[in-house]
Symmetry: C2
Subunit: 217 residues, 2 copies
DNA sequence: TAGATTGTTAATCGATTAACAATC
DNA sequence: TAGATTGTTAATCGATTAACAATC
């Protein structure tokens, strides 16, 4: 009767990749696939694939493998893609505008409802038919509209304050592009996209061979 | 005499976060910090912090802790920030333009040298004084210029072909924003920023409580 | 039925945390 | 010197891989 324990983030981060590969298989008219075949494509072990999927149900069939279309739909459901999501973007700078313009998300069921900024030069400007609003009206807007996900693209300095406003007005998911670790209550989920940090892991690995050679003990 | 073994990605991904927190400490005029104090700020255990740092050297001092400025510089060096990097962006769509406009990277030592696209409407257009070039000249450009990092912002369909061109002409690091797993030789390092996948982990977690309740065994 | 492949338990591997001697 | 805190070894925890009985 009690809920099952939480799935580890290691597993969760693999789910969208399964989803992507399964869509590719569908577009290649592949009907069924075994964990072994999928393993060769996706680069996880067959064992890991079976373990991952069995966290959520018995999607396969012994002797047969997995039905591609069915598994794709199941994973879509697990990822919450049976629902649609209303988003707003806060911060209409480079990244905010890029996200607003990026059409792929709408295919997945995300609809961006509004964009906010505090720069008077940006307010009123339209991006894909959506006018940039004054961030001063954010709280008011949230009281009147049901928003699932806040996409945070402000500079670091404003990020926590905006987050507080979002959380206070019922937003429970934040996609954070600001280079800061936000403080939120336990019921709010945050996904960080820290671009600088991502880039720095690249330079680390670029230099690693020399580095480890130099500091050998 | 032999090189030390490779550092795990779990450790590497924490390094930029140390770097960021140490910079914040510097700007708050904090001179020294113990692993315990840093632990409380950054949210890793003190033990993990000491383990992480000791992969690269003995940066601390018993009874004292770590000198903030020195540790910041050391981690900067480990991340390769003692060097500068020439980058090019391939794909001048939303994300490519956003990255090109984003000034924070230049502070870290990254200089974007060129932007390429195949869309005639974009070619010739300038972003921050850098004209968008025809991607047809990419190979030629790479032969004449020393580029450290290729920033890949094309649609999925072009990504592998561009990657092949980059690799063939000596680029050994790719920051990949295209939703695809690129095939490269072992000596080439890739850092993926898969935005859709990032967003889907958010919707997963948004729905997880209900999901796990529904599928209890 | 025989062969294939899953679902799942057990074994292994790696990463994190705890403990403490070394030492500033 | 005494107290604090590191560097590092050992213990624990969790994630991945291997093995195999169940079964389509």
């Amino acid at each position: 009767m009690s809920d099952r324990r939480q799935i580890s983030m290691a597993v969760v981060r693999r789910l969208p990749k399964y989803h992507r590969y399964l869509l590719e298989l569908i577009s290649n008219d592949v009907d069924r696939i075994s964990s072994k075949e999928l393993s060769e494509k996706i680069g996880f072990t067959a064992s890991q694939i079976r373990q991952d999927l069995n966290n959520f149900g018995d999607f396969g069939q012994q002797g047969y493998g997995y039905n591609v279309k069915e598994l794709y739909n199941q994973i879509g459901n697990i990822l919450g893609l049976n629902e649609t999501y209303n988003t707003i973007i806060i911060g209409a700078g480079n990244i905010g505008q890029a996200i607003a313009n990026y059409s792929n998300f709408s295919k997945l069921g995300f609809t961006n409802q509004a964009i906010f900024d505090k720069n008077p030069k940006l307010i009123g400007l339209k991006i894909r038919d959506i006018a940039i609003l004054d961030v001063e009206f954010l709280e008011d807007y949230l009281k009147k509209n049901n928003i699932d996900i806040g996409i945070l693209c402000t500079p670091r300095e404003q990020a926590q304050e905006i987050t507080d406003t979002l959380v206070k007005n019922g937003v429970t998911a934040i996609w954070n592009f600001a280079p800061i670790d936000l403080q939120v209550p336990d019921n709010v989920v945050i996904e960080n996209v820290h671009l600088s940090e991502s880039l720095l892991t690249l330079t680390y690995r670029l230099n690693e061979p020399k580095l480890l050679h130099d500091i050998k003990k």
